[in-house]
């Protein structure tokens, strides 16, 4: 009897240990395995390129950028890829995008990741508009610095994640005509492109109540850096007030090719706004790809295959619209 009981206890222990060990291994695998198999990361070394960090483009503390220069400096001209970091316009840093910049550099592009003044306690005046203007102002400095280091830039593309995607679209759609070199394409994920309260269900701004409308007016006013009142919603005056931060309102037949990815369950910025953007790009015949991640939120975290498709498309867009010559 004693032996049988001991056996039972022993097997019970084995079952428990097996569960705990397999559970832990499964968690580790899920957290650490790169679904792309490391295709978009490189072992950074002088053989691939060099990075110059914290180069200055303006007077504000955050007006700095990192420049990634490919090892091959023998070409006459180079394409520049700018990437803008995410962080809800209030946090984040260019250093978070190092892996992508290194990969782009390994493909032969000059890469630049640019910081902008975040809206925080120290900078309560910062807005999406002021950030977009800093990005615009940075570009001549980025290109001049690359040339100073021996890399003549003759064309550029711009991309970003979330807030960075919003700013990238603003530069590509609103400011491309003033860019020092031609802008060939824009790419990015989960960036807000328009500010219609009915789309912003994620914050309850779609409700037809005074409180909801006042909340929308305050939020969008902060983002636009100007006073917006709830009675402006639905009027041409409102579109004019938010145009400077609404990439959607700058789309026309001259808009550059656009690659974008959005999560259908995004609770940080509205998926619905991306439907408007897709419709506008389609209406004006702009070459674009609109990748919808059916099971994901803002982090695009549940659609590995679609995310892989987004990365493949990014590579394809670069090959088509800004090939390394």
């Amino acid at each position: 009897m004693k032996t049988k009981g001991t056996h039972k206890m022993l097997w019970g222990l084995i079952y428990v240990i097996t569960f705990v060990v397999v559970f832990a291994v499964s968690v580790l695998l899920k957290l650490t395995i790169d679904p792309s198999g490391g295709k978009y990361s490189v072992e950074w070394s002088d053989a691939i390129g060099t990075v110059h960090t914290d180069l200055v483009y303006g007077e504000k503390d955050a007006n700095k950028f990192d420049l990634y220069l490919p090892a091959d400096n023998s070409r006459d001209t180079y394409g520049l890829v700018v990437y803008l970091h995410p962080g809800g316009f209030t946090s984040g840093d260019k250093s978070g995008d190092a892996e992508m910049m290194q990969w782009l550099c390994s493909k032969g592009y000059v890469g630049a990741s640019i910081n902008y003044t975040l809206r925080d306690e120290a900078h309560p005046e910062a807005s999406v508009y002021s950030q977009s203007m800093e990005i615009k102002e940075s570009m001549p400095f980025v290109i001049a610095e690359a040339e100073k280091l021996g890399y003549k830039i003759n064309e550029m593309s711009i991309g970003g994640g979330s807030a960075g995607h919003c700013l990238a679209m603003l530069y590509a759609y609103r400011d491309a005509a003033d860019a020092p070199v031609p802008v060939r394409m824009v790419f990015g994920a989960v960036g807000p492109s328009s500010f219609y309260p009915e789309d912003w269900k994620c914050y309850g701004l779609d409700k037809d109540t005074e409180e909801s409308k006042a909340g929308a007016a305050e939020l969008f006013g902060v983002m636009a850096g100007k006073k917006i009142t709830s009675d402006m919603f639905g009027t041409p005056e409102y579109d004019e007030a938010v145009k400077d931060i609404s990439a959607l309102l700058w789309v026309d037949e001259n808009t550059v090719p656009s690659l974008m990815a959005y999560g259908k369950h995004d609770r940080i910025q509205p998926y619905e706004a991306s439907i408007r953007l897709d419709a506008a790009l389609t209406k004006y015949g702009v070459p674009h790809d609109y990748i919808v991640m059916e099971h994901s939120g803002h982090g695009l975290q549940n659609d590995y295959k679609q995310y892989a498709l987004y990365m493949e498309k990014m590579e394809e867009y670069l090959d088509i619209y800004m090939p390394v010559k």
């Binding site: 397999v22 559970f23 968690v27 695998l29 803002h298």
Partner: protein, 44 residues
């Protein structure tokens, strides 16, 4: 079926369940962090 065969089958089932639950736990955690699909992504 011998007792040992039964135990091995139970062990295999436990391992499979633990593996699936481990992945689901990460997914649930990420959804919680990132506003995904769990409970409509309504955590944030």
């Amino acid at each position: 079926m011998s007792i040992m065969t039964k135990r091995v089958i139970i062990l295999a089932v436990i391992a499979i369940v633990a593996f699936v639950l481990g992945r689901l736990a990460v997914r649930a955690f990420l959804n919680l962090l990132l506003g995904g699909t769990l409970f409509g992504g309504n955590f944030l």
